[in-house]
Symmetry: C2
Subunit: 280 residues, 2 copies
């Protein structure tokens, strides 16, 4: 792997910042807020930030970069796809529970649901996340979809995956903003109380975590290598492994590969002579 | 250009949604709020969302995709770089004025500055935006930096450009959230007043605009083609035009090109025979 030490440094930083984000969220609700419970009170609401930051932020972030861990490159693609899908499934379940906590809390206190921008974006992104998970499951994990459909869907899967991750982070920041303006009245948020400064820092940690994941996942030199000869073994020059793996993160890999394939065919060269592996 | 009609459809959609975002912001401050002015009152504050959405959201979004407009591919790279830098400079100036408006308003009313998460993220992203503009100016527009430095900086420039754009959008959404919780008291935000629904819709428009720009800018088939023979003319096999242009949007293009170059040299093939243009 090119730049292994750089990768390792960024991975450790991402894990540290992600872990701190979860820790800060727990300290926020346990120390500054009322704690956790499941009784329709604010204690139940507090599960919302804890589960969102743990699942949709931290676990989703790890799921996005899981193909890039070089010590997993010996593992089969199927295993890695199961881990990727499994982590996202866990995050989706936590997200649904986090929504139940908020709706329960609102209903118990007769607080209207779905009036704020945070609620609009948050519910939308959870629905998109579940759709993305289902699409990914049926298109890439279950061997049902034809290769051409997989190749067509992969750029969409990559784009929407990163977009959803970005919207989750934006939504988390609006959620922190909303909660602090509700909760911090005595003393007011504007008087720089410790909880305000602490939770603003949590917001920045979430943002930095997103930035680190975004960097790691967009470096072409850190992509999982294709399975040996996976392209040449295909009668139609398709990329059965490549569709799921090596294209899974890099933007527009499908296009560049198909163009490379076309260029190679034109010159009657085998694909790996046409430089098509040089972007891995 | 591959998929020209698709590109055109998305471009028109982006322009429409971006234009609607600016229009909605104007309607918000002129119809629902007090209007615009420069007297330390809420009228001065109202310049803040107008200038941010016009500059940092809309103009920055256009600046990001300006290399991709196929009818500009006849124009020189230098001209396009000037347009890219010029649009970003205009957005930066509007951003600074938008900050002055908020600080003026706060100071006139003795409201503390810089206590909210929105203010932390917003000020940080404006500083990053200006640094990115200066770095871009000295590294890519003024012919001072050596090619190797440009090639090293370009992936950072691309990454930080898109990251800053994403943070701007997240920051705008926290700003809308903050303002609505401040402003909507009678009737309360939670009673679904027209202003709440309208401004939530503005938030969604900003998000959709960001998603459209993100899609357009990450499609490899819509990249500006390299200048003919720009690579082969370079004694060291560098990419003087490619550094600024064809790599300006696609993630990690630097890496894939240098790898392609290495592969081509290894086989003593000219670069454009090695499929290095097939990802354009």
């Amino acid at each position: 792997m090119d730049g292994y030490r750089g990768f390792l440094g960024l991975l450790v930083s991402a894990l540290l910042v992600g872990f701190l984000s979860v820790l800060f969220t727990l300290i926020w609700v346990l120390h500054y807020r009322e704690g956790l419970g499941w009784d329709g009170s604010a204690l139940e609401f507090n599960w919302h930030p804890v589960l969102v930051v743990t699942g949709l932020v931290f676990i989703q972030g790890i799921a996005i970069i899981v193909y890039r861990l070089p010590w997993t490159w010996k593992c089969s693609k199927l295993l890695m796809k199961c881990i990727h899908a499994g982590l996202n499934a866990v995050a989706a379940i936590l997200a649904v529970i986090s929504l139940v906590a908020v709706f329960d809390f609102h209903n118990a206190r007769s607080i209207p649901n779905m009036y704020s921008l945070h609620s609009w974006i948050g519910l939308t992104v959870v629905i998109l996340y579940i759709l993305q998970l289902l699409l990914g499951f049926f298109a890439f994990l279950v061997p049902l979809a034809p290769l051409s459909l997989r190749a067509f869907l992969m750029p969409l899967h990559i784009y929407s995956g990163l977009l959803i991750f970005g919207i989750v982070i934006a939504s988390a920041l609006t959620g922190v903003t909303e909660k602090l303006f509700f909760a911090l009245t005595k003393p007011a948020y504007s008087t720089f109380p410790p909880e305000g400064v602490f939770t603003n820092t949590l917001g920045l940690l979430i943002l930095v975590f997103g930035a680190l994941i975004f960097w790691i996942v967009t470096r072409p030199q850190w992509k999982r290598p294709k399975e040996p000869n996976s392209v040449l073994l295909q009668p139609n020059g398709g990329t059965p492994e490549g569709v799921e793996g090596s294209m899974a993160i890099n933007f527009g890999k499908a296009d560049s590969e198909s163009n490379n394939e076309a260029a190679a065919r034109k010159r009657n060269l085998p694909l790996d002579e046409a430089g098509q592996r040089s972007t891995l």
